[in-house]
């Protein structure tokens, strides 16, 4: 891996010459490793840390967050998320929806090129979607489109080279949202040369501003500028809008250890460090050679309370726990002041976050003790699962344990590894746990991930017919005002039922060398490196 080392800031030129001479004495052509990147644009490589290797190059297939973050630079869908998480057109120039909500007609933009030089036509969209809709594709979002979830795509047709028509079995307010989801790979439209003649995946040939160049497993993934990119005319807007590949190469370097990543950033061996810990952010902000972008994101940290548990099935005990906690203090302490409390499932950065959503739990120890006495709680231990992969969960759990003890609630922490905790979560095998939910881009999806029938989906925290009825309506209704009412009603009910205690939405930091300009974080926590420049001299 060629990670150039910058000119040393502290050592003298003499000391460096000394080392180079030593290297020569060892028979090395020293100095080659000290090669510098060239001027702006051409020849430049922006080196970005990722904490683990990507899983595949198939958008929305075998994936995780890092995979999504890399591939969203390569592939684009018909529609995409805007900055405010609403949906805007991307490869489509316009989208028409029939009155009954069952037919969506996409008109494609003119002159869009694939990274192999081919021009995008409607048949490519049909091919891509037929591939996504095959079970063998393992597309993460297939259940939302094959009838098991939100709707069923009955057909995808291309009446002419510029038009694609989707026919649905049932109407859904979330059809376009689901299409645009970054964890679905934005349903990127790919050229058929992305797969071999045997149908096996090769590498993505998309329409994005960067094309796939090289994947050195365990080391780095490199993308390079797609010179034939056809940008939208509007300004950058989330994952849509104008995109310009300012830097020639993006190299996503796998650095699992945050201390090593920090040292690399400080020494100039790295240009951007994604998601440093809050403590590191505080430290980095004091440096003159590093800038930190900190943005509230939709990732949700919450305490799940098992409503089937012999102790916690009594709502008075759950409410008492909520009243025992100083949730603003937890949010502030855990995140070093980078995040603020939010007791709602609707993220604070959502357009649906209003005054009702902003209401939450207020610490009241005497009320908590009274409820506990009424419920006959006598200090039975409540086991709370946490893990150290997500430090914020562990820290939150420790604070919850301390605060709850002041009300007489006996919480015992059980620290597991993430895979084991995820397994327990899925099977509903827990009394309580500190849990992290990845970002969802619509409140319906947020409520859907926490509420449902526990008998068939044990992972669901909130089994409430009241909530389910409102959730179902919110997924169909296209009236924003009505949806707001539904979300507000659900929030008020959740504060009563307390199946979980939402603590805060995370904030996502990206630390960069000062030479990196133009970067902007946003709510879905997907770093975008188009329109980002790398100045020759910081």
């Amino acid at each position: 891996m060629n990670v150039p080392v910058p000119p040393p800031r502290h050592p003298t030129a003499r000391s460096r010459r000394l080392l180079q001479a030593t290297a020569w004495a060892l028979g090395l052509a020293a100095g080659t490793a000290f090669a510098q990147t060239g001027g702006t644009g051409t020849g430049q490589t922006l080196r970005i840390q990722i904490n683990s290797d990507i899983r595949s190059t198939d958008p929305g297939g075998n994936r995780d967050d890092n995979t999504d973050n890399v591939l969203l630079h390569v592939g684009e869908g018909l529609v995409a998320l805007r900055e405010d998480t609403s949906i805007g057109p991307m490869l489509a120039s316009k989208v028409d929806t029939s009155a009954d909500g069952l037919t969506y007609t996409f008109t494609l933009r003119d002159g869009v090129k694939f990274q192999n030089g081919a021009t995008l036509v409607a048949d490519d969209v049909v091919w891509s979607w037929q591939r996504y809709l095959r079970p063998a594709s393992n597309w993460r979002c297939l259940p939302e489109f094959d009838g098991k979830g939100m709707t069923k795509v009955l057909s995808v047709e291309a009446p002419n080279p510029k038009t694609v028509v989707f026919k649905l079995e049932r109407a859904s307010a979330l059809f376009l949202t689901m299409m645009a989801r970054p964890d679905c790979g934005s349903a990127a439209i790919l050229h058929r040369s992305s797969v071999g003649p045997d149908g096996q995946w090769k590498e993505p040939v998309g329409t994005g501003p960067y094309k796939f160049k090289e994947w050195k497993r365990g080391q780095y993934v490199e993308l390079t500028r797609f010179d034939g990119y056809t940008s939208r005319a509007e300004p950058r807007d989330g994952l849509t809008g104008g995109k310009k590949a300012e830097v020639e190469n993006l190299r996503f370097v796998v650095i699992p250890d945050s201390a090593a990543a920090k040292a690399a950033l400080y020494s100039g061996g790295l240009d951007a460090f994604i998601s440093p810990s809050p403590a590191d952010v505080v430290e980095m902000r004091k440096r003159s050679d590093v800038v930190v972008d900190n943005t509230p994101v939709m990732t949700m940290i919450a305490l799940l309370l098992q409503t089937n548990d012999p102790v916690l099935k009594d709502v008075r005990v759950r409410r008492a726990l909520a009243l025992a906690l100083d949730t603003p203090e937890i949010a502030s302490t855990v995140t070093e002041g980078l995040s603020v409390v939010n007791n709602s499932v609707v993220p604070s950065s959502s357009p649906y976050y209003d005054a009702v959503q902003a209401t939450g739990f207020k610490r009241d120890l005497s009320a908590a003790k009274k409820l506990l006495a009424e419920a006959g709680y006598r200090g039975q231990p409540i086991r709370m699962i946490a893990n150290k992969r997500y430090e914020s969960l562990y820290s939150s759990a420790v604070l919850v344990q301390a605060m709850a003890s002041e009300a007489g609630i006996n919480i015992e922490l059980e620290v597991l590894d993430w895979a084991t905790q995820l397994d327990r979560y899925t099977k509903g095998q827990y009394q309580s746990m500190a849990f992290i939910y990845s970002a969802r881009i619509d409140p319906s999806l947020n409520y859907e991930m926490v509420s449902g029938d526990k008998a068939t989906q044990p992972r669901k925290a909130w089994d409430s017919p009241y909530a389910q009825a409102r959730l179902t309506e919110s997924m169909v209704s296209r009236d924003k005002a009505r949806r707001q009412v539904l979300f507000d009603e659900m929030h008020k009910q959740m504060l009563q039922d307390v199946p979980m205690i939402v603590l805060f939405n995370a904030s996502d930091a990206t630390a960069m060398r000062k030479s990196v300009t133009g970067f902007k974080g946003w709510a879905p926590a997907k770093p975008r490196f188009w329109n980002v420049r790398l100045d020759a001299s910081p």
Partner: protein
């Protein structure tokens, strides 16, 4: 000798078989679903089942084991559930990285530690001994990851002399490749020198107490010859055993250092596959590690007679 070798190799077969059963069973006993990790917390149950079926995880454990064993005996350790790559080439590629660092570090550490231990024993309880043993104790007490981070921050971040992250295979670019492995090698050398020095000193002290050493001295054999011809060869065997153990341990266990220095080695592959519940990769790595131990033990056993003729291969 060839018969002895064959017998030793044959004895490893039941060991490896037991290891394979233990590895397979233990892996399946760890809670955590690889498919769930792959598809995320909101995955559809039907999709989870489909993927489990595609990966053969819905088969009975015994069936899964025998299918895996049959393929393993044919040299096919399966494909990674994380990234779909064939396991054996993946392990081999990662092993190269670890091997370069570990073999170089252990060789250098031995070159420093064996003479140092010899001198310390020879000068027992004198200032030289105290200095050597003090330094050795200090080195072996320092956690390798801490020392690695310290070196990384000093030489990489503060002085800017060496690259902080990354790796270039020496086969691709020798000069760059060397620069990337200097710090991990130095870290390992420092840590392992401490262990080996103490071992070498202890075994040398034992030998120095023996009658034939006293006899040689009484005959007027110069001290340097006593040490070189009578003490060193006899004192080296226990150290050799320790070197073998360290080699085996490090070749599979420098995950922490590989993580600190961002090296794509075997240890990091194992750690990553544990977190991802990547059964085929982890099973392959553990089996491979067992093989490494077996081979190293064999080599160490073969080396004993070179230093001590009393050790018979009979």
């Amino acid at each position: 000798m060839p018969l002895y070798l064959l017998r030793r190799i044959a004895m490893t077969i039941p060991t490896l078989l037991l290891v394979s059963i233990a590895v397979f069973t233990l892996m399946r006993l760890i809670p955590g679903d690889p498919v769930l990790l792959m598809l995320g917390e909101g995955a559809d149950p039907a999709q989870l089942e489909l993927m489990r079926h595609q990966m053969g995880l819905d088969q009975p454990l015994v069936t899964q084991y025998f299918v895996w064993l049959r393929h393993a005996l044919a040299g096919d350790l399966g494909v990674s559930t994380t990234n779909g790559l064939a396991v054996l080439p993946l392990i081999w590629e990662r092993f190269h990285v670890s091997a370069v660092i570990v073999l170089t570090a252990v060789a250098l550490a031995s070159l420093i530690a064996v003479p140092a231990g010899l001198i310390a024993a020879w000068r027992k309880d004198r200032p030289t001994d105290l200095a050597i043993i003090g330094a050795a104790t200090l080195l072996l007490s320092v956690p390798s990851f801490w020392l690695g981070l310290l070196l990384l921050m000093f030489f990489g971040q503060f002085l800017g002399w060496l690259p902080v992250v990354g790796y270039v295979p020496m086969s691709e670019n020798f000069s760059q490749g060397v620069l990337y492995v200097i710090l991990p090698i130095v870290t390992l050398v420092l840590v392992e020198t401490g262990v080996l020095t103490r071992m070498s000193r202890a075994s040398t002290i034992e030998i120095l107490r023996l009658e034939y050493v006293t006899h040689a001295r009484a005959k007027g054999v110069p001290e340097s010859q006593v040490l070189r011809r009578h003490v060193l060869p006899n004192a080296f065997n226990p150290t050799l055993t320790m070197i073998g153990l360290i080699l085996g341990h490090l070749l599979s266990g420098i995950a922490v250092l590989e993580t600190v220095f961002t090296l794509p080695g075997l240890g990091r592959l194992m750690i990553d596959s544990i977190f991802a519940r990547d059964y085929p990769v982890l099973q392959g790595c553990l089996l491979f590690t067992a093989c490494i131990y077996v081979v190293i033990n064999l080599i160490v056993d073969m080396c004993y007679p070179l230093f001590d003729p009393r050790v018979s291969v009979q």
